[in-house]
């Protein structure tokens, strides 16, 4: 069995499932924020801060950033392993791809830490 050490779930099936669960969470978040902005056209700073400092909203936002991280990891992995390949760009492809993947993972983790800092540091 061929396994990949840089895919998130280490298996195509688990990545497939994770991708969809994460997508559902993000879609719910986008719909919620859109609806909230629509029903509160005269939103004030205090109200906006109040929303985001409530525990349920912090949990929802945290779940969303974790979903973004998982979803982006899986998606970017697909793109890198499809296009940054020996057949398409030559013998240096593997080292270039590993570099891209590690950069992607670093950025993803930075996003998560940044989001936690925003949500709990406000």
């Amino acid at each position: 069995m061929v396994t990949s050490i840089t895919s998130l779930g280490r298996s195509g099936l688990s990545d497939w499932m994770l991708q969809r669960v994460a997508a559902a969470v993000m879609t719910a978040y986008v719909i919620f924020i859109t609806a909230y902005l629509m029903v509160n056209p005269d939103l004030s700073y205090e109200q906006w801060r109040g929303l985001h400092s409530s525990l349920p909203m912090r949990m929802f936002s945290l779940m969303t950033i974790l979903s973004i991280a998982a979803h982006a990891w899986i998606g970017m992995w697909c793109v890198f392993t499809d296009y940054v390949t020996v057949r398409l760009i030559g013998p240096k492809a593997t080292i270039v791809r590993i570099f891209f993947q590690l950069s992607m993972i670093t950025i993803t983790l930075l996003y998560v830490v940044w989001a936690i800092d925003i949500l709990w540091g406000m």
Partner: protein, 126 residues
């Protein structure tokens, strides 16, 4: 396995159906969204850290360049979401053959276009 096999995947010589274009754009928008997360987090942070920051985000960022950037990020999000929902429809077994796949691609593209135009109207005009 070590024998060199002929490969003909010169995509530039293919005439691609609409299903290919919506799929490629789904990928492109996904990669764009990976970087857009930084913009979204920055906007969230700005809107939450000060009254002035909140006003600035609420009043659509003053500069046309910034408006364009946010519009592009939200458009990528809208497109990617609609095409993702199309994937879920296919996961449930609908629209899996070529004809119905072309139909759902057209419907999804129309919905995405409408959303992108609405977002543009909201940011630039309203």
């Amino acid at each position: 396995m070590t024998k060199k096999r002929p490969v003909n995947l010169d995509v530039s010589t293919f005439r691609l159906p609409i299903t290919s274009y919506v799929s490629i754009l789904h990928r492109v928008s996904g990669v764009a969204l990976f970087f857009s997360v930084a913009i979204f987090l920055w906007l969230l942070e700005t809107s939450l850290t000060s009254d002035q920051g909140f006003e600035w985000v609420g009043n659509m960022f003053g500069s046309p360049l910034m408006q364009f950037v946010v519009w592009a990020c939200l458009s990528a999000l809208a497109y990617h979401m609609v095409m993702g929902l199309r994937h879920l429809v296919m996961d449930m077994g609908y629209g899996e053959n070529f004809e119905s796949g072309q139909l759902t691609a057209k419907i999804a593209a129309a919905v995405a276009t409408a959303l992108i135009l609405s977002i543009g109207g909201w940011i630039f005009i309203w």
